[in-house]
Symmetry: C2
């Protein structure tokens, strides 16, 4: 996954992968049918985790509001992105150049649709403002979450909880200091 991310999937050959892994090409082919199967396994790693998180958040249940479940799915998405950064990075760069990539895009669309529906529910229950289109809010909110894969370093300045807290604070409460009036 790291080599695919560094060099681009299409530009990476099985020979490159063998060299990176210190294996022979036949040794890799002993385990997988080819490069596309490796991509498929990597994308499933990301998609299975994200699907579990979004399915759980989409499940209406007594005692929770859509607003609470939306905050929770933001927090848990950040955890998945940090724990599965290489596979999520690969997933977010998929363009649909093959059947495997198209299938991954299809699963991403399901996630996007569920998240947009959750935002719409939180607006309907009155918790979120209704002057910004829910589908646009969902795009931007999870665009912010997904941007993590480009710069987050597990050994960097911020732990997962700090990042998740910063995202929910900014997105739900806003950066502006209450009561402050610009001159």
């Amino acid at each position: 996954m790291e080599l695919f991310n560094r060099r681009g999937y299409d530009a990476t050959s099985m020979g490159d992968l063998a060299k990176e892994l210190g294996l022979t090409k036949p040794a890799i082919y002993h385990h997988v049918a080819g490069k596309e199967q490796l991509l498929s396994l990597a994308l499933d790693d990301a998609l299975d985790e994200l699907t579990a998180v979004v399915a759980e958040a989409s499940r209406e249940r007594a005692g929770t509001t859509a607003h609470e479940r939306l905050r929770e799915v933001v927090r848990r998405s950040v955890e998945v992105l940090v724990a599965h950064q290489p596979s999520v990075t690969l997933l977010l760069r998929v363009r649909g150049n093959s059947p495997v990539e198209l299938a991954a895009l299809e699963r991403r669309r399901w996630l996007d649709d569920r998240l947009a529906a959750l935002v719409a529910d939180a607006v309907k229950e009155g918790a979120l403002r209704d002057d910004v289109p829910p589908a646009l809010v969902s795009r931007l909110l999870f665009g912010m979450v997904n941007s993590l894969v480009e710069w987050y370093r597990a050994d960097g300045a911020y732990d997962t909880a700090t990042v998740a807290g910063a995202i929910t604070t900014m997105a739900f409460d806003g950066l502006a200091r209450h009561g402050f009036q610009a001159s």
Copy 2:
């Protein structure tokens, strides 16, 4: 730029470019020294625009606050991303695999540093909350802006002003409805 984005820069050959453009390879080489010069021109297209916007926002001047200049740089960045979507997309995918890419990353770092300084100034003047690290705010805010390149369509549901408005509303004022208390 579109072919680089669709297939990945490293996987695109001069032969692919000639075919896409309906030209012969010698016809392309008549104008540019090679693929890397095309990449360099494309990255400069994005970087020159973004640098102008950020330099203007960074310039302290009478009658403006850092908070106002930060909101303005968000709005103008959205305009640049929409007007230069192919070159900004390419820029955001650069990994540093060549001297041209490393030079582009260096220019991106300057932009990131100026934006982080602007957020810090807005916190210092008291306009923005001080309980989230300014460098993290800057990453997330412009991560949200940059996410546009992945899904924005000029012929889609939202015009530039709607998107810029949604981002500043969410980031500065927050999505939560004031006065609403979750049960």
